[in-house]
Amino acid sequence: MDAFLAILIAVVTVTVLGILIGTALVAASNKYHVETDPREEKVRNNLPGNNCGACGFAGCDAVAAAIAAGKAPADACPICSQEALDKISEVMGVAAKEVIPMEAYVHCAGTCGHVSQKINYVGIQDCRAAVLSGISIWECDYGCVGLGTCVKECPYNAISVKDGVAIVNSKRCVGCGKCAAVCPKGLISLERKDKKVAVRCSNPNKGTAVKNVCSVGCLGCSICTKKCPTGAIYMNGNTPMINYSKCIGCGTCADVCPRGIINRFDN
């Protein structure tokens, strides 16, 4: 009988305590209720949720709050899909913009076999620190340093250094642009995912100056600009640039390039 009483007392005590605390919590939650924008949650649900920080805010929650509050445009997330942006724009009541899927592209092809090493660098294994020390590790002053600062920065594990040059895995890259922001040589740019051709060199010099340092670098001969049927290639100094809105993807430029520095893509 004693045991039964003890159990009963315990059950009653816990039940009463539970009811009391529950009531207190409900009261507190009503009293300290914070008004939130219902749109914020809807926006947040349509964001990718990687918390990569490419938008410049502290993760997806922060950018959702900023979009809902009107402090950031509806397309603040640079890696949003078209579907998600449509929904966010609908929530915010603005016209949806067209999303062009982008990816990072490294404009250097100077791997170890093509460019020789100039100095023996033993300092911090970080491209920015190496560039600050003044001299270039490789013969080409404009090429990839190859110490992998972009690799450490990429939240999607989409970039790697292979044979001394960074290379982007197009399947994984979402085009957040964080690698482009840290590259001290400015070699990485965001290009359209559906591009058919791209120039893989950034050396602003011409002719022998390039030939002396790299066996594949662009010589600035500008034959690609002359052969392009739509005039989509133009010279920026001695480096060819492609205007993708004019490019029809015929690949003539890649065929005529004497150095084979214009890459073709099959996508």
Partner: protein, 450 residues
């Protein structure tokens, strides 16, 4: 008074034995001369010559752009070959005026004629210094006429001639003090007439007894001998740093955002002071300077007294190159503590350059970096009382707010004492230089956003 040294610092082997007893070799370059237009702190000069122009030695070829800037003077006669981007010793490309040297060294009229400067007013002296293109020759390249125009001239109580030359291997200031001691004292007299309330101190490390002796003799012969003193200090690195030298002589300290004038001092390298004397008394613009080539694998370490603009390679060849059976493993513009490693020697000697150090394989054997041992030697070695141990930690973790605000990382002068003493061989200075560059870049971005 009578402090001997500053807090912290380190004692690297001074390695002066290689070149200290070799008198200046007066060398007139034969090859082409290159003059970058940004050899100083401040705005780049504006080139006023173009390709094909004939120039004379001593002619202004690029004019100072604004107050904190400096004239660039041709140190040879010939024709302008090109105005183009050329590589500098720091590894960067800089717009440079290239002159095809005709080897005649025809000078502009009026250079080298002794003039009576005792009647000149202060502003006339300063404008002469400005016209001569004189900048700090010790290494920083700060325009001297700016230094000589402080906001509060009456507050200057010390003029320090920096002859410490604490960087290992370099001996050109030592030779200059031995061979041109009278010129330096006369330059000091000129500075003291500009600042009548100040006293002059010639600060020399005790590992240069001959220079101390020579300067003492020259001071005694001076009409201002009561105001000019030789101040021997302990041999310790970085004794020649502006902040170290001021704290030793006056006991004053100042922040990185301030100038020595805020601590009541003007600090000039001894070779700058000689250049001031030559400019004021002989109308001679800054064309020549001492330049040491030293190192353990050289055939003949040499102190050159040569023209600014000559290529490192020409001087290296002139002194005979490496000794037989030895090979250079590392080339440094400047000394081993603060100098910049170089990849090739086809770069010009600039106003603020004073040495080429050529080190053999044994000297530069690289030791792998290990984790921090928490021994605290770097903290004891920092001449500014910073905590390199924590600073490196913050820099590695990219905690730049802590680096800047809690640890005062921007005060670091990158002297390299911490890296020198680190038993784990951590590249501390490189961490700090990178962190500082990132902070300054961030600031610039924020300013542009505003």
């Amino acid at each position: 008074m009578s402090r001997m040294t500053f807090k912290g610092g380190t004692h690297p082997n001074d390695q002066k034995q290689f070149a200290r007893d070799n008198a200046f070799v007066h060398y007139l370059p034969k090859g082409e001369m290159v003059f970058p237009i940004n050899q100083h702190i401040g705005k780049s000069a504006n080139p006023i010559v173009k390709k094909g122009d004939a120039v004379l030695a001593g002619q202004v070829i690029a004019e100072a752009d604004g107050f904190v800037s400096s004239n660039i003077i041709s140190s040879c006669s010939g024709t302008v070959k090109e105005v183009e981007l050329r590589q500098t010793a720091a590894g960067t490309m800089a717009m440079s005026i290239v002159i095809d040297n005709d080897g005649k060294y025809n000078q502009v009229d009026g250079i080298g004629k002794e003039t009576d400067y005792s009647k000149l007013s202060g502003s006339e002296i300063i404008s002469k210094v400005k016209a001569a293109g004189i900048v700090g020759l010790g290494g920083a390249g700060f325009p001297t006429h700016v230094k000589l125009s402080p906001k509060n001239p009456a507050g200057i109580h010390h003029i320090l001639a920096n002859g410490a030359e604490c960087e290992p291997f370099i001996t050109c200031d030592d030779r200059l003090m031995r061979e041109y001691s009278d010129d330096i004292v006369k330059g000091m007299e000129i500075l003291l007439t500009l600042f009548p309330t100040a006293e002059g101190d010639i600060v020399i490390e005790k590992n240069k007894p001959e220079a101390i002796e020579a300067m003492k003799k020259a001071c005694a012969a001076s009409p201002m001998s009561d105001k000019i003193k030789v101040y021997p200090v302990k041999t310790k690195y970085p004794q020649g740093g502006e902040r170290s030298i001021i704290s030793v002589v006056t006991g004053n300290h100042y922040k990185s955002t301030q100038l020595p004038a805020d601590a009541g001092c003007i600090v000039d390298n001894v070779s700058t002071i000689r250049a001031i004397y030559r400019a004021v008394a002989f109308n001679e613009p800054l064309m020549e300077k001492g330049f040491t080539i030293s190192g353990d694998c050289l055939k003949q370490p040499t102190n050159f007294f040569t023209r600014i603009g000559v290529s490192y390679q020409e001087l290296f060849d002139e002194c005979g190159g490496c000794a037989e059976g030895k090979e250079a493993a590392k080339l440094i513009s400047g000394g081993p503590m603060m100098g910049m490693a170089m990849a090739n020697l086809e770069v010009p000697v600039q106003k603020a350059h004073n040495a080429l150090t050529v080190l053999g394989v044994d000297e530069v054997a690289s030791v792998p970096t290990t984790a921090c041992l928490r021994c605290g030697r770097c903290n004891a070695a920092c001449p500014l009382g910073l905590i390199p141990q924590y600073m490196a930690d913050a820099a590695v973790r990219k905690d730049l707010a802590r680096y800047e605000n809690d640890l005062y990382g921007l005060e670091c002068i990158a002297c390299g004492s911490c890296t020198y003493v680190c038993p784990a061989k951590r590249p501390l200075v490189q961490y700090f230089k990178t962190a500082k560059a990132e902070i300054l870049l961030e600031r610039k971005k924020q300013q542009e956003a505003k």
